[in-house]
């Protein structure tokens, strides 16, 4: 199986939209703690290109989180320098610096006594944005992370599910439109299906915004899926390999990386191929409120036994069999939250997972802001695997 070049082709620099991120450069960064002979981070030098997602992975205690926290000065390096967009981060006060860097941590870490809206508005308020502007921003962000502003703005964190809290956490990190966003195990506290969905959403958001995102994870699969580049660290934050997921899977630098990436590298290639790489099939769609009889006629002409139902914003809300449709005279909507879909940037691995649970032998694919794109089915995936195998 040869490597596919999809990730390289889709790096933000070549994708549509302008890069709003900033380059981060670490130069000989070292962190020593008193009383410890070995440094936690030793002489780490690396460049994180503007507008890319760089994943820091490594065994626990390798210094990946320490390295991350030095970028927003939650931890001050013992020596070495860090620049963002060419500016030394020590030039301004730590508080001012941090207001320009989004920070998202595990579980969202929302303040429980503040509403969702106030949580998101925190940094804009610190920066002195005016009320109307902040309010508009909060609503835009809630919309961006797939939560209806009117329903969620005034709720408290404890009234939200883990996945929703994490979404708000991401929205809060994006609030002041910072060029750089740091994420520390952002999706570590949610169940696998929610995690997959959140990862897809992050990729969709990044497709729109092109921030520089530095993300710590211990999960190599997450790193392969999300990262434009992956930094694999050994102890004391020594760089084992820093490259694109393709390159790391195709040519691990040494035994350490090989072990870390694990067996089944060929299968992991499925994690590198995206839903966009395969041909989506068109299915009969219907709008909420349409006459059922017309929809069923249309479906029968197309030879479909199920219909994808879309809301007014072209988002899929349900996928119903014709016999279910017949129960109502007009097409009724459904709960979008409970419909399992895959993002177009999702890996074939995730898509297969979703298809297995859907009951339709396929999965609904959506694009930016959950817009419906089509359906991916088993045929498409197996065809794709055969093609790649022959190539």
């Amino acid at each position: 199986m040869t490597s596919t070049n999809t990730v390289a082709d889709e790096t933000p620099a070549t994708a549509a939209g302008s890069v709003s991120g900033a380059e981060i450069r670490l130069d000989g960064v070292t962190k020593r703690y008193p009383g410890q002979r070995e440094p936690a981070v030793g002489e780490l030098s690396l460049t994180i290109p503007a507008g890319e997602i760089v994943m820091f992975v490594g065994p626990s205690g390798c210094g990946k989180t320490t390295s991350l926290k030095m970028i927003n000065r939650l931890i001050e390096p013992t020596s070495g320098s860090i620049t963002i967009d060419g500016e030394d981060i020590r030039k301004q006060s730590a508080d001012d610096l941090r207001r320009q860097i989004g920070y998202v941590i595990q579980g969202g870490s929302l303040f429980p006594h503040m509403t969702v809206g106030r949580n998101i508005a925190l940094v804009p308020r610190l920066l002195g944005w005016d009320r109307a502007e902040t309010r508009q921003r909060v609503d835009d962000l809630l919309d961006l992370v797939g939560l209806d502003p009117d329903a969620y703005r005034d709720r408290y964190p404890r009234e939200l599910s883990g996945g929703q809290q994490q979404r708000v956490g991401v929205a809060r990190g994006l609030a002041a439109d910072p060029p750089v966003i740091l994420m520390d195990e952002p999706f570590g506290a949610v169940d696998p299906i929610t995690r997959q969905r959140l990862q897809d959403e992050l990729l969709a958001i990044q497709r729109e915004l092109h921030k520089t995102i530095v993300c710590v994870t211990h999960d190599i699969d997450e790193a392969i899926k999300l990262g434009d580049r992956i930094l694999i660290l050994k102890e004391h934050a020594e760089i084992a390999q820093y490259d694109t997921p393709d390159a790391i899977l195709a040519a691990p630098a040494d035994e350490f990386v090989e072990d870390f990436v694990g067996s089944g590298a060929a299968l992991k290639q499925l994690s590198l191929s995206r839903v966009t790489d395969v041909e989506l099939s068109r299915r009969t769609t219907a709008r909420v409120g349409e006459l059922t009889s017309e929809v069923i006629l249309r479906a029968q002409e197309n030879g479909d036994n199920a219909v994808v139902i879309l809301d007014e914003r072209n988002r899929a809300v349900a996928w119903r069999f014709l016999r279910q449709l017949r129960r109502h005279e007009k097409v009724v909507g459904g709960d979008r939250e409970s419909l399992v879909t895959v993002d177009q940037r999702a890996t074939l691995n995730d898509a297969l997972d979703t298809m297995l649970v859907s009951g339709h032998g396929g999965a609904i694919v959506c694009g930016d802001r959950d817009r419906y794109l089509g359906v991916i089915d088993f045929h498409a995936v197996t065809d794709f695997i055969e093609q790649v195998g022959e190539a």
């Binding site: 508080d95 207001r99 320009q100 920070y103 941590i105 429980p112 006594h113 940094v123 408290y156």
Partner: protein, 212 residues
């Protein structure tokens, strides 16, 4: 008894009001002091244990003894009564404030720091609001306790319903002895209940729905 109350209605209401006023003032002052000390104590972890020990020891000083100790510094009267009541009122609030502030999740504080909130903003917007339910519980305990202690303070010529109790004790065996003591005691209990109700309402109004 009923005649006793009716004859002294004005006096009783006035003393009940004075008693409550003294306690409210003392508790408010004590809360400010206690929270301030707790903020310092939680910044410097080494101070936590001594602060807890001191607040425990402070409560064991008999109220009358404290009045005696304060006499060389302050003249008998309202000020002395206020200081004595406030001294005791600090203890429960301090203890709860330390526990409450320490109980704020460290990851929340780091996340606040990571968002660029300074020390003061974190204190005002995160730490105190999150510790507030616990602090307020301390304020309620403190208020109940202070209502009782304020009775003893009137021994030092302070205002309040304590005067009735002491008069009753002094006239032991007299016609109205029991009436004096009862009116003083019941008056204090009723006012304490009213204050507690007000504090509960304050809690409803000031504790965020997100942490209630």
């Amino acid at each position: 008894m009923w005649d006793f109350v009716r004859d002294r209605r004005a006096e009783i209401f006035y003393d009940a009001w004075q008693h409550t006023y003294l306690v409210v003032l003392a508790v408010v002052a004590a809360t400010v002091v206690a929270v301030a000390i707790a903020v310092i104590v939680t910044r410097i972890p080494r101070l936590a244990a001594p602060a807890n020990a001191l607040s425990a020891i402070g409560l064991t000083i008999p109220a009358l003894a404290l009045v005696g100790l304060l006499l060389p510094v302050l003249a008998l009267g309202s000020t002395l009564a206020f200081v004595a009541v406030a001294f005791y009122a600090v203890m429960p609030v301090l203890r709860n404030a330390v526990v409450g502030l320490q109980g704020v999740d460290a990851t929340l504080l780091e996340s606040a720091r990571g968002m660029g909130m300074g020390e003061l903003a974190t204190l005002a917007r995160i730490r105190i609001p999150l510790a507030w339910p616990v602090i307020l519980a301390g304020v309620r305990t403190s208020t109940q306790m202070s209502m009782g202690i304020a009775a003893i303070a009137s021994y030092a010529l302070g205002p309040g319903l304590g005067g009735f109790i002491f008069t009753g004790l002094a006239q032991n065996g007299g016609k109205n002895a029991m009436n004096y003591a009862l009116v003083g005691t019941i008056g204090i209990v009723v006012m304490a209940l009213i204050l507690d109700g007000l504090l509960l309402a304050l809690g409803r109004a000031t504790i965020s729905k997100g942490v209630r």
